[in-house]
């Protein structure tokens, strides 16, 4: 570790920089999830039926497709941070921990890509034959 005084070596590092960012994003997405899931659960319960015509027409409207996309982003960001905390708490081997966090990130990205592509296809693709 370089030269200089103790404070000079650590200045700009650590939690003074971005240490609280995960904490803040976890709470930001918690409130996002609260609002968006309230919308989603209400929509599901009020939906007259779950047949293909009904759900696809519902999801094609901008006021369903956009909140659904935001819901996916908020939920996946929230669970990515939350599960990373669990992995860091319970996995003590550095290699296993690193591997698990990589898998978690791949899971979140794959689920997000599939969900967003599906929403866009339903919303922009028109009615399939």
């Amino acid at each position: 570790m370089g030269t200089g005084t103790g404070i000079g070596r650590v200045r700009g590092l650590g939690s003074a920089k971005s240490g609280a960012l995960h904490w803040w994003h976890q709470r930001l997405t918690a409130v996002g999830n609260l609002v968006l899931m309230a919308w989603f659960v209400t929509s599901l319960v009020r939906m007259p039926s779950y047949d293909y015509k009904n759900v696809s027409e519902w999801l094609a409207s901008p006021l369903a497709a956009v909140p659904m996309a935001l819901l996916i982003l908020s939920v996946l960001t929230h669970l990515r941070i939350g599960l990373q905390v669990l992995l860091e708490d319970y996995l003590h081997d550095e290699g296993t921990k690193l591997g698990a966090i990589i898998l978690l990130n791949f899971y979140v990205i794959a689920a997000g890509a599939l969900a967003l592509f599906s929403i866009l296809k339903i919303a922009l693709g028109g009615a399939p034959a």
Binding site: S56, L83, F117, I122
Partner: protein
């Protein structure tokens, strides 16, 4: 990370007298994990099934229901379990947001709201599924 085995560990789960606050803290993590995998996979599968068109969506409905009519009991248990997990995680999450402000740490208050998260999650689950299974049928 290596640990010096000669050093004592801090007291852990086995040594404390159990209380509702410990239970809901653990439930928050357990239900969060259940939602992160079960809930998200089911939601993404549902979206992908709609995007795949009527034929595949009808297969999805068949998996979730029986002959597109009454619910099959295995998916029913999963769906009710995820509903309860959702409300439990929601209420313990709200509890955590309140605790973040520094409020609610008095012993009786803490115990009361810990118990209320579980009462609330069971009540909300019963309310939703009564509506879906009894009122709407």
């Amino acid at each position: 990370m290596s640990r010096n085995a000669a050093r004592p560990l801090s007291p852990h789960l086995t040594i404390w007298k159990w209380g509702p606050h410990m239970l809901v803290s653990i439930l928050h993590r357990v239900t969060g994990s259940a939602l992160a995998f079960g809930g998200v996979l089911l939601l993404v599968w549902w979206l992908a099934a709609i995007a795949s068109g009527p034929a595949y969506y009808s297969f999805f409905l068949d998996m979730m229901t029986k002959d597109q009519g009454g619910l099959n009991w295995i998916p029913l248990i999963i769906l009710v379990g995820l509903t309860w997990s959702f409300f439990q995680h929601l209420f313990t999450g709200l509890r955590h947001l309140l605790l973040d402000t520094g409020a609610g740490y008095e012993l009786k208050t803490n115990k009361f709201w810990s118990l209320m998260t579980m009462v609330g999650s069971v009540a909300a689950t019963i309310a939703i599924w009564s509506e879906l299974l009894l009122v709407r049928q």
